[in-house]
C-alpha cells in the first residue's frame, strides 16, 4: 500500500453519496410510474386486440418524467404478414 492508497481510501464517503444520489433519483422517478404505465399498456393492448392480433412484445409503452413536462411514448409494431385483421379472419 503506498501513500496514494491512503488518500484513495478516504474518498469512499463521496463515492457512496454519488452512487446514492444517482440510484435514488432513478428509483424515485420509477416509484410512481410502473402502475400507470402497466395500466396504460394493458388498456392499449386491449384496444388494439379488438382489431388486430399482435404479440405483446410489439407494444412498448414508456414514460419519461421531466421537471416541467413528461412524455408518454407508445410504440406499436404491426407485422405485415402475421397481422390478420380480425374482421376479415372472422
Amino acid at each position: 500500500m503506498n501513500l496514494l492508497d491512503i488518500f484513495k481510501r478516504r474518498s469512499s464517503a463521496p463515492v457512496a453519496r454519488e452512487r446514492l444520489q444517482v440510484l435514488l433519483a432513478y428509483e424515485r422517478r420509477n416509484r410512481s410510474q410502473p402502475d400507470l404505465v402497466s395500466i396504460l399498456r394493458e388498456e392499449i393492448m386491449a384496444v388494439i386486440a379488438k382489431h388486430v392480433q399482435i404479440d405483446q412484445d410489439y407494444l412498448q409503452v414508456s414514460m419519461d418524467r421531466g421537471e416541467t413536462m413528461s412524455t408518454l411514448e407508445i410504440d406499436i409494431q404491426i407485422p405485415n404478414k402475421s397481422a390478420v385483421p380480425l374482421a376479415m379472419a372472422g
Binding site: 488518500f7 464517503a13 457512496a16 452512487r19 424515485r28
Partner: protein, 271 residues
C-alpha cells in the same frame, strides 16, 4: 388528543426498537403519558429492551381480537409512572393484525396518552405499513450507510403515499434520526456525513445518536439508555431528540472528532 409517532426505517438492525424505547422513555420522564406499541408481530423485542419480557400476559393481537381489554394488555413501566408498553404477539403470524383493529386500538390509545410510539417491523410489507398507517409523525431511523439510506428513502415514499394522513391530503411530519454515527470515521471521509444523509433524503433532522457501547449495555440490562445512563452522550442525544419531537427548537450539534496528528499530517478535513 395524543400524537401518534411511528418509528420506522425499512432496513432492519438500524436501531428502531432501541430508539423507540429511548425516545419514549425520555418523553415520559417529562411527565407526558406515553404508550410504546410493538408492531413486530412474531418477532417482538420491545418488551426485552424495556426489561418487561417477564411481565407480558396479553398483547396487541389479543386486544384486536377482543380476547383482552386494552387496559389488561398495557404494561406500566416500573421506573417511569407515565410510561406504558403494548407488546406484540410472539406466537401468532402477522396476518393477525387487521387495519380496522389497529385503527381502533390506536384511536383508544390516542384518547388516553399524550404520545403513542409505534415501533415498526423492518421491511416495507404489511406489518410496516400498518405501523405507519395512523401516524401523525414519523421518525425515520437511519445509519450513515448506503443500504440504510436507500431503504429510508423507500420508507419516506411510503409515508407520503400509504398513510391515512397522506391519503387525506394532509402532511405527515417526517424526521430523520441518524443512529450509530461515528464522528471519527465521518471526519475521515469513511462514512456518509450528516450533510450527505440529509441532502439525499431531504428530510429534517431530529438528532444524531453517536455509536456507543452504552446503548448496548442498556439493552443488556433491559433499560432504555435515557433512563439507565441519562448523562452519557447517546442518552443526551436521545433526550435532545425527544425535546425536538415535542416541538422545542433545539439546534443539532454534529458530534465532532478532534483532528489527530495523523489527520493533520494527511490534511484530512473534519466533517
Amino acid at each position: 388528543m395524543g400524537k401518534v409517532v411511528v418509528v420506522t426505517s425499512g432496513k432492519g438492525g438500524v436501531g428502531k426498537t432501541t430508539s423507540t424505547a429511548a425516545l419514549g422513555a425520555a418523553v415520559a420522564k417529562t411527565g407526558k403519558k406515553v404508550a410504546l406499541v410493538d408492531f413486530d408481530v412474531g418477532l417482538r423485542n420491545l418488551d426485552l429492551i424495556m426489561g418487561a419480557e417477564r411481565r407480558v400476559v396479553f398483547d396487541l393481537v389479543n386486544v384486536i381480537q377482543g380476547s383482552a381489554k386494552l387496559s389488561q394488555a398495557l404494561i406500566r413501566d416500573k421506573r417511569v409512572e407515565t410510561l406504558f408498553l403494548l407488546p406484540a404477539s410472539q406466537t401468532r403470524d402477522k396476518d393477525a393484525l387487521t387495519e380496522d383493529g389497529v385503527g381502533e386500538v390506536i384511536d383508544k390509545l390516542r384518547s388516553v396518552f399524550d404520545y403513542v410510539f409505534c415501533d415498526s417491523p423492518a421491511g416495507i410489507e404489511r406489518g410496516a405499513q400498518l405501523a405507519m398507517r395512523f401516524a401523525d409523525e414519523a421518525v425515520i431511523v437511519t445509519n450513515p450507510e448506503v443500504s440504510s439510506v436507500r431503504d429510508s428513502d423507500r420508507i419516506i415514499g411510503l409515508l407520503d403515499a400509504r398513510t391515512l394522513r397522506a391519503e387525506q391530503g394532509e402532511q405527515i411530519a417526517k424526521h430523520v434520526l441518524v443512529t450509530r454515527y461515528d464522528a471519527a470515521r465521518a471526519s475521515r471521509g469513511e462514512m456518509l456525513s450528516i450533510d450527505d444523509v440529509l441532502e439525499i433524503l431531504s428530510t429534517p433532522l431530529l438528532g444524531i445518536i453517536p455509536e456507543s457501547q452504552d446503548v448496548l449495555r442498556a439493552s443488556n440490562l433491559g433499560s432504555p439508555v435515557t433512563l439507565s445512563e441519562p448523562l452519557n452522550a447517546a442518552a443526551k442525544a436521545y433526550i435532545d431528540a425527544a425535546r425536538r419531537l415535542e416541538g422545542e427548537n433545539l439546534p443539532v450539534v454534529v458530534p465532532f472528532e478532534r483532528k489527530g496528528f495523523l489527520d493533520r499530517l494527511l490534511g484530512r478535513r473534519a466533517a
